[in-house]
């Protein structure tokens, strides 16, 4: 279950509190997955008490965007901490989907990869099994043109990406380099659908033996 809250001493109008929370959560907690199970209890709250004074911030205030950025930043940091602490997780993976025909398509592809048990077990095994990634993209339900799709692993240190598939054509993958990238606690996956200009980012983790052990022994 995901629970959380934000508290600020800024004076924020109710409508702004609602709007900021909604947008911040869409770019953070709604963009993570550990095991694909949605809890009955998930709740994130946002409270603003105005104790620091100053003019009230509403949706039309110049300060609104700045506040929204701060809340979104905090929400992203917290949601990433949740993924890093995923039950049994040994890897933290950032999935960026670009070139989607719609934002919904981008999210669908990212979520499908994030939730694929086979992709996640490959992450655990540090196995550059990009066929499983393509498989997930293909059944996501998004508009996908296989001949326009490119996929790369992105090292956490932002050195050169390892291209796995370019415009539908498999690349001659340097398996040593792939293993080196996947051996780190953290890495990225870049998917370019080549079908538009919408993009999204999501965060996921691997599936390890530990996940099964923890959940075989915890009644919740």
């Amino acid at each position: 279950t995901l629970l959380g809250f934000f508290a600020t001493d800024a004076p924020v109008a109710v409508e702004a509190v609602q709007q900021i929370l909604r947008e911040a959560v869409d770019k953070s907690f709604n963009a993570i997955s550990i095991d694909g199970d949605t809890s009955t209890n998930d709740t994130i709250a946002f409270l603003a008490n105005g104790a620091s004074g100053g003019p009230e911030i509403d949706v039309s205030s110049p300060a609104y965007e700045e506040l929204k950025q701060s809340v979104t930043g905090i929400a992203q940091k917290l949601s990433q901490l949740v993924v890093r602490d995923g039950e049994g997780a040994t890897k933290f993976v950032t999935i960026r989907v670009r070139g989607a025909a719609t934002e919904a398509d981008a999210k669908l592809v990212a979520a499908t990869i994030s939730n694929s048990a086979l992709v996640k077990t490959a992450f655990f095994g540090e196995d550059a099994n990009w066929g499983r990634i393509l498989c997930a993209i293909g059944y996501s339900g998004a508009i996908v043109n296989p001949k326009a799709t490119s996929v790369s692993f992105v090292p956490a240190d932002q050195t050169e990406s390892l291209r796995l598939l370019v415009l539908g054509e498999p690349q001659n993958v340097d398996e040593e380099r792939a293993s080196e990238i996947l051996s780190h606690d953290e890495f990225g996956l870049d998917v370019d659908l080549g079908s538009g200009n919408h993009e999204t980012v999501s965060w996921t983790c691997d599936f390890s033996y530990e996940y099964v052990r923890i959940n075989a022994d915890y009644r919740s």
Binding site: T1, D37, T43, G88, N215
Partner: protein, 205 residues
Amino acid sequence: RRFVATMPDKTKYIAKSGTYPKGFLINGVSSGVKAKGALDLTMLVSEKPCNAAAVFTKNAFQAAPVRVSRETLQQTKGQGIQCLVVNSGCANAVTGSGGVQDARLITALADKAVLGRGDGGLPSTLVMSTGVIGQRLKMDKISSGVMKAIEGLGSSHEHWMRGAKAICTTDTFPKVVSQEFSVNGQTYRIAGLAKGAGMINPNLA
């Protein structure tokens, strides 16, 4: 090939200090719902009424605290919220109408204990629960836990960390983030807590 799940060092993600918003007090205590005296109940109290909002799971089987907190925000139109009570021993989920009554009782208890409000007024407390599904809350323990939490409320980093620890279930570290930000020359603070390690694929709205 044999695999070993070697967990990365996660202690680096634990906040060592923080800058916390004015006018908020927090505490985490052991109410006894969790075994062995583990921290399992967090209370956040604002000295001033807050404007508030929340997003909730879209799972069709929404737990009692989800239903009650949504009801509270609808009734109050998100105004006048001053307390948040989170328990982590028992999820109070799929507990039927009895579970809803329990969640409402926590709201009423906190409203009365913190704000001195009696029956009949608008609620000002939001509730959250996590933990074991399908069991009723031990309300005697929750009630005494709320009173215990109120006694030790504070605003230090240690208080925020206790609050973060007391909402954890299978989490391996408490999750606290805080920062200061300035808007038009005015400085504000914001802090956030979260818990979650499993059953995580949020669809919040």
